[in-house]
Amino acid sequence: MNELRQFSRFVSGSVRLVTRGNGAYWLWLFVLTVLILSGAEAFARQVRSGLVVTAMRDQVSWGFYIGNFTFLVGVAAAAVVLVIPAYVYNWKPIREIVIFGELLAVSAIVMCLLFVLVDIGRPDRFWHLLPIVGHMNFPQSILAWDVLVLNLYFIVNFIVVTHILYRAFHGKHYSKKVVVPLVLLSIPMAVGIHTVTAFLYNGLAARPYWNSSILAPQFLASAFCSGPAILLAVVQLLRRFTKFEIQDEAIWKVAEMMAYATFINLFLHGAEAFKEYYSNTEHALYTRYWFQGIGEHRTLVPYAWTAVVLNVAAFILFITPKARKNVVLLNVGCLATYAGCYIDKGMGLIIPGLTPDALGEIYEYYPSIAELRVAAGVFALGFLVFTLMLKVAVPILLGEFHGTKPATTS
């Protein structure tokens, strides 16, 4: 009975927390809401008229949605992989960030699943993908695996986050029996979701650009760049606008890790580019389309080189101790990493994989307005989830919002 009262107080307190905030907070929520509504409207139109409102066609049958999905799987994976040093080496400074990593993972997975939902031609049949009511094509279909591991990963992280926060709310330390095994499970799962997502592409012999065994390691490397990049931005904002204290040391350590990850990412990209260009088989066509264009088809070329420049710049900034300890340069590095990986792993992965198509035709894909609106809506929804979760989590972790005292806003 007492437990129930506690729970209802937690819920009503949380509602109070998210409904209070300054002007910037409300403006942020307003912007997100507008984007979500615009996305919802575009999605409704897409459901009615079909995916013909996107720029995808038989020639390039996956596009912006699946690109974003792939990128966000990386974000979800990497955010949690920060748990490794925290729990394995029990390194306190990062441990404070971990909870935010898991919140980020939860929001990223929400976006991933939404991107899959908006991409499929029959969202009304999504339940065909579920076990028992539907039919999952095990063990052959990597997509069936992906749906499974993403959902499990979501559940695991959601339980960990809710458990830690709920216990903190009641002024108790989290139960090690619950959290440690789940966190330990979530580490291989984080690697797993990204590996499975890489295998999704990697396993397709029809698409030489993807059919490279370097793809899964490269996915992981780029995830270790983009995930922490977002996280660093978030913790800095938290430090700035809340009483949350995060040591510089933690930020620098993460930045240093990102330098190594960026290097490995660049190295793997370089290895792949070498193979393609030096051996110069017919499979080099796709890499050439990305970096040079084919004939007059050069739409993606500027993006390819922007990504290279951004990733190299980020590496230089993060590997230089002085630069990564400088707040401005650190943030420039984060932004560069984020943008670089976003181009690389979104459009840069999907589009050259499908262009030229299996019969050699070149259709230059770039997203339609409808796709941009739907995607913006999905991102906004993800950010909204993340914002609201932070709004509750931060006061709990600061001890400002707990079961015994009335809630206060930050």
């Binding site: 409102v53 038989d58 409808a370």
Partner: protein, 179 residues
């Protein structure tokens, strides 16, 4: 004689049914019943593609003396022989005595709906492929009754090169959404 018998028996393997649809009233339907090469298989050939009113040839040729010399044709002026024309002329294939039939190099007479035998004298490999259903178009049942076309339905015997065709419309290239 033995070869002729072999050819004949091969010929008998093929059951030829002349459809009466396009046949001129004068053409008696020539049907041969024989054990088909594959159990349950029936081969069917439509009538040869004569120009309108040209057959039977003997309507005119009965009263004409055969002229084997190479010359510019007066009546059949639409025929431009482009089929190994250095070595051949009309009566190498058309029978001099009975213009309603053809003849093989052996002298054996051949009706027009068996003309593939004549073609097969030189194009033996094509004839073999055609018999197997691999050269030329087949319609009907993949596991039963099939219809063949004669060589001359696609290749004019006088100018056998396949005539160019106007292609059907090309597919529409992928279009981005308008707006």
């Amino acid at each position: 004689m033995k070869r002729a018998a072999a050819v004949l028996s091969l010929l008998l393997l093929v059951l030829v049914v002349v459809r009466s649809g396009r046949a001129r009233a004068e053409t008696p339907p020539q049907t041969r019943q024989a054990p088909p090469p594959v159990a349950g298989e029936t081969l069917e050939v439509p009538p040869p593609p004569f120009s309108d009113g040209i057959y039977p040839c003997n309507t005119c040729h009965d009263s004409l003396k055969p002229n084997p010399t190479r010359r510019v044709l007066e009546f059949h002026d639409e025929i431009q022989l482009k089929h190994d024309e250095q070595h051949r002329w009309c009566l190498d294939c058309h029978d001099a005595v009975n213009r309603d039939v053809l003849h093989l190099a052996s002298g054996q007479k051949l009706s027009f709906d068996e003309s593939y035998m004549l073609c097969g004298q030189c194009h033996g490999e094509k004839l073999r492929d055609w018999r197997a259903g691999v050269h030329g178009r087949r319609t009907g049942q993949w596991n039963g009754h099939k219809t063949y076309l004669l060589c001359v339905h696609c290749h004019s015997p006088h100018q056998p090169h396949f005539k160019p065709l106007a292609p059907k419309p090309a597919p529409k290239p992928p279009m981005r959404p308008i707006r």
